[in-house]
Symmetry: C2
Subunit: 199 residues, 2 copies
């Protein structure tokens, strides 16, 4: 997705060989118009799948997910990392280790929002070691829902999460795939999978 | 805002005299199309104000804010409740007590995203005792930004936050104002402030 890659190149910062800072437009300051384009791209890539719900994780997954949900006409559920007084009944839970926050988060969704009749699209901002995606898969599996695919804004393709999920048979679509972040330079994976994918 | 009030009446649950559960469409499962209408309503109410940035708080403020930001053509910044490894430099911080989570959260924004030249619209999902709004005001004040107004999806008008903010001179616009939640019944404040306000 060209405009996303352009944005990453001009505003992203390779903080280290594993950490890409995109707080200018994705996970602290948010560019709503870019999120809308990202939502449209997810719509294009998954529209044949009969999606009934989008499942994401608070907080950075919410903006791209609600735009995708708006365009696809389906509700978005964001899994919670912490329990609230008003979120109590029939919880499905899983656990995820956050590398950037260095802690284990219990994540949960209310069971009433995902069921056996649902075809779920999982969306997240980043895919690196795949732990967050696995937790979301675990939540959807517990609900008996079908997982139609996993839509990722930025995949760190030099980490194992993406290939592990694809090997398990999941349909993973990442809008920008980073090949490496060495020497402060951001390099994308060269690929021609989609008509709108670029180098 | 009629469709929001209708949604609150049909899908909201008065858990107690102070707690309104709206996890069906606002703060766990999200209705993207309703969020878009909410964004449009904020746009209508604040479009004359020369807004340059929307400031909100993760996580439930994000969905209505990105829709408002999309329609108003301005970036959204969501204040973080927990610090990330990638969010380190030049932080403005404040504190907010969350009644529904019963804890004090340190909230922060990167200074580089809000400055003296900004005219900020603060958006949040709920206004009750006003602590979250005050923390966001405190963040914007530290940045030297002008605060154009405060847009709230649901105000618990029986709590003191809204009147305290209005007494201080802030322009507060709440799309649904709850008069009381007694006996499990949701009652709105009767008002005719806006052409689209209803009983």
């Amino acid at each position: 997705m060209d405009i996303l890659k352009e944005k990453i190149l001009t505003e992203g910062i390779a903080l280290s060989e594993t950490v890409l800072k995109v707080d200018n437009f994705l996970n602290h300051q948010v560019d709503p118009s870019l999120m809308h384009e990202i939502g449209r791209e997810f719509q294009n890539r998954f529209e044949e799948k009969g999606i009934t719900k989008i499942l994401t994780l608070e907080s950075s997954g919410i903006a791209p997910s609600v735009m995708a949900g708006l365009l696809m006409g389906v509700p978005v559920i964001f899994a919670r990392k912490r329990q609230s007084l008003t979120l109590t009944d029939g919880l499905l839970t899983s656990e995820v280790y956050s590398y950037t926050k260095q802690e284990i988060n219990k994540v949960c969704v209310a069971h009433k929002f995902i069921g056996e009749d649902d075809t779920v699209l999982i969306i997240d901002d980043f895919l690196a070691n795949g732990k967050a995606a696995e937790a979301l898969i675990h939540l959807a599996d517990q609900a008996g829902a079908e997982i139609a695919g996993i839509g990722i804004v930025i995949e760190k393709a030099f980490q194992e999460g993406g290939s592990a999920l694809r090997e398990k048979g999941y349909h993973v679509e990442s809008l920008a795939r980073i090949a490496n972040l060495e020497a402060g330079k951001i390099e994308f994976v060269k690929e021609k999978e989609h008509s709108n994918a670029d180098v």
